[in-house]
Amino acid sequence: MENVSFRTTVLPLSDKLFRLALRITMNRAEAEDVVQDTLLKVWEHRSEWEQIDNLEAFAIATCRNRAIDLVKRTGRNTKSLEEIENSQPSTINSQASLEAREQLSLVRRLMDGLPELQRTIMLLRDIEGKTYQEIAELLGISETQVKVYLHRARTKIKEWITNI
């Protein structure tokens, strides 16, 4: 383990971790801090890597925990479903492009309004392309639970989209 390089082993995980931290903290600067702490922690524990089955899973779990802790510590919480629904634009803009842009940002707001676990599972599946089994291992829950949470998330999104 003496010849491992940070650049080739840990650094390639940074963008993936950043997207996860960003979906939890909803703040770019805070997400960067979380990723930095996570990468340094993973690197400092390199002597124990041989005991870790999956380095990426370890990094993702560490990153998620740190991001959740940060959100709790700062006393912030993500917007509730009601807040998201109330923030929908009530008037219809005549310009199609502006409408599309508004709708696009609304979809993002809808996704961000999901509970943290649903949001994280949706990110890992739809954006990072993980299998249900991989997600279950990453989050320490069963595969069935992953499907249940994802189903809830997708159903909500579908309902919101069709009601727009």
Binding site: L22, L40, V107, G129, I161
Partner: protein, 161 residues
Amino acid sequence: MDYKYIEQLLERYWECQTTLEEEAILRNFFRQEDVPASFLPYRQLFIEEDEIAREHLSKDFTDRMLRLVGEEAPIQVCKARRLTVVRRLRPFYRAAGLIAILLTIGNAAHQSFTHEDAEATMPIAENATADSLQQITIGQPEQQSASLTAQPLDTLDAFAR
């Protein structure tokens, strides 16, 4: 395009019954600009997910991390190469060489076109040369004649003229 298939895939997507490959098919379908109106509301979701997938950290972050762990980013140094005069003039030599080759080829082509004329006049020239040499040989002393025959052909031609 079979929209029925997309419809079925989409239904299975909401129910979490699609494989990653099937979800990739859906994603590719919704990346198109001309999606049928019935699918348009769902397009925003897939486009938005593509946007999220493109989010990344800046290069400053990477450099900062490398500094923190003591693996500095390699400094890119541009080494100035010293060029000698010969090396600097190499393109001109090459151009000159190319021109010389072209001229040689052109000359050879020109000569091949005029070869028939040369063939026609060759026997006359040969006869004239032989006559001239014979006259010279008869008119000169033996020693001089021997020295003349030892001369290169060009010299003999010149002498004959």
